[in-house]
Symmetry: none
């Protein structure tokens, strides 16, 4: 089934509102196995709205429309569609009764405007709005089904879940299901990942394999269609295994988790704690871990030591090291990690010191970052990175790299980067 | 000038990504006086992409296209548009040199794939990408100008601001100049701000006044059109003054700075230093300050004390306070701030302790946050907040509130919140 989504409202075209409905409805359609081919946003304008409806009717089987069902004069969606389809709207006594009751419950007289919302498509469907006055509507003509939903998210989402999803399931032909599996990678770029998997990506159609660059890292989504769920999983499993054979060392999640979620879950599973000593990331590393609910079982805390004086006084990094090697050095990273582990009495500690830019510092270039990993009973290891990008990007990549190093250590019992 | 925006990417149609570019670009166009009539999202599919380009070319003067400029096989935007327009792409030696240098700087061989990104429209424009490999492109044919931009926000937004906005201004007919001034507010919601300024917003057409909700806070953009720049500034000045008379107490920048930039600049101007003691924000507050270049002159450091044990051992928060009042209490916030100021030997210190959720803690509801502000020679003050939203949202609002409190203190010599 070919579907498209139309969102209506001049506020969208002025950029005053971000269209989150298209994304929400697309996700829902995808889960139902309905292919969405277009999203369109258009203003409250009869001529342009008519054109958009005509085009949609010519190329799609299902047209989902959001917005423009309000009581005011500039709400034109329903009236314009009725006109395009040559259908006369009729007043629905059930809707009249419901709306009058709605205003009665608020001790208000129903405004004259709202009677506009009681007109529906004859032979169409009407969906109750639990959180507002505009009912949802559906109508089919010439093999195309149009579904009209109110624009406010607090009205649209409950209506979709209660009434429209079941309505769509009834529309579906056959019984194909779609299953997706997402693999998350760090430490390998999108184009290199694709190059390493080129033959799979080109020759594979079920499951399809699609790479996406994320804020830090890359994901691969494997999507299979089959008669039932288990069959779809069976199509994905061998392809996934072949991919992991080639690039598994960079894969940190098969389950759409973030690196910080994976680290918290590994630490919890092993009943280990961690602490941090951060310089150029200024607390981002500990903050990333703190975004995960339940982190308090594994995160002891951290020290942000932005100046040499604080590194020395609060972290006991020896003045010798700071004088001789500087604060941006392997020796400083090692000392920061070891001291943090000691002070916080944690099982692991990670330090980050480096140059986030925009200017070089201490004779080191922008992007030079040292990460120390301390672990009870083992020598502290130090990793050197050369990162690129803006100050914010270098901070983010440094913190994510630190998490990846810890994840590798926790997963394999040894670091591989 | 009639414009439309096309975003390209199958991930949009699967609902994996929310299209924020259409909204961003619409706002920018609106500020330039360019009318946007349609947004369309379409997948990486030659046939459908061609249809969308043909339709856009038939109804718009300006077509802004985002996404599908990557190095991989499913990035088809540029090639498809060239095909629709009947133009042969040519390799641009400047782009080749820039990309080879880009990979050289990363000590990598340039992947074969990326050479695809060196092809451009002959007689078109090329826009440098400071944060990635895909250059932006522009081409005009039959009176329609097409502008192609890379999809990742960190590439698109700087490219738009540095190159594409000036390019669009050159396209504008006539010799009107447009000047915008953005006022940034914190501590007042978008609807309340709009209500307080309703008469201005409704009756004002030059400058226009447009409120936008930001990640934390609200901005008002005043945009004036005039024959020359000074005349536009003269239109803005009296309206700005009237607005600040009403809601100036919430305004922290007239210059599009973030709260953290304003705080760093105020601290530098007064030669004061700050340190932090964070619990529920996990280091976000110090990280926000560390995103500002030059923060090392004012940021001493911070302690993330995620457990009671660390609050007591590392910060010397008395066990009495933790036992009697709990870690989420005004007394704990006061002690954390005072101790941090003492330990880091800073002029100011801020503490944050609270419940970020998803579960309540210590008998305190989700969103309850205490912020302590310590200052040499003054009693430490504690502020209580009741924040709403997800864990991440509560963390962000708590950290921004702390910065706002410090900004108010630095600006006025006293706190007003």
């Amino acid at each position: 089934m070919r579907a498209e989504i139309i969102t209506v409202g001049t506020e969208l075209l002025l950029g005053q509102t971000v269209d989150t409905h298209s994304s929400y409805l697309s996700r829902e359609c995808s889960a139902l196995g309905i292919d969405v081919y277009y999203h369109t946003s258009v203003g409250d304008n009869v001529r342009r709205l008519s054109e958009v409806f005509r085009l949609a009717g010519s190329r799609s089987d299902l047209v989902l429309v959001c917005g423009g069902l309000g009581p005011t004069m500039d709400d034109l969606t329903k009236e314009t569609l009725a006109d395009v389809l040559g259908i006369q709207l009729v007043q629905d006594p059930d809707v009249v009764a419901r709306l009058e009751k709605y205003f009665d419950g608020r001790s208000q007289q129903m405004p004259q405007n709202n009677y506009k919302q009681t007109y529906v498509f004859p032979d169409g469907d009407v969906f109750v709005n639990l959180n507002g006055t505009a009912p949802g509507l559906a109508v089919s003509k010439n093999g195309v089904t149009y579904v009209l939903m109110p624009g406010p998210p607090k009205e649209l989402i409950p209506m979709f879940e209660n009434s429209i999803r079941p309505f769509l399931i009834d529309l579906l032909p056959g019984n194909e299901v779609i299953v997706s599996r997402t693999l998350s990678f760090f430490g390998i770029g999108e184009s290199l990942l694709e190059e390493r998997l080129k033959d799979f990506i080109e020759n594979q159609s079920n499951p399809t394999i699609a790479p996406y660059a994320k804020e830090a890292g890359v994901t691969l989504r494997l999507t299979a269609k089959a008669k039932h769920e288990q069959a779809a999983h069976d199509l994905i499993a061998p392809v996934k295994a072949k991919i992991l054979e080639r690039v598994g060392e960079y894969c940190f999640s098969e389950n759409e988790e973030s690196l910080e979620e994976v680290v918290v879950s590994l630490l919890r599973g092993r009943q280990r704690t961690v602490s941090f000593a951060e310089s150029c990331t200024g607390g981002l590393l500990s903050h990333l871990l703190s975004t995960v609910p339940g982190c308090s079982l594994v995160l002891k805390g951290g020290i942000v030591s932005y100046t040499d004086e604080v590194k020395n006084r609060m972290l006991d990094v020896p003045a010798d090291i700071l004088d001789e090697h500087g604060a941006i050095s392997p020796a400083a990273a090692e000392s920061m990690a070891s001291e943090a582990m000691h002070k916080f009495q944690s099982d692991f500690a990670i330090s980050i010191t480096g140059v986030a830019g925009p200017d070089s510092a201490d004779g080191k270039p922008v992007g030079r970052v040292y990460i120390g990993l301390a672990e009870a009973g083992r020598p502290t290891r130090v990793y050197q990175l050369a990162l690129k990008g803006s100050r914010g990007r270098i901070q983010l990549l440094a913190a994510k790299h630190a998490l990846f190093i810890l994840q590798q250590r926790l997963k394999k019992g040894e670091t591989t980067t």
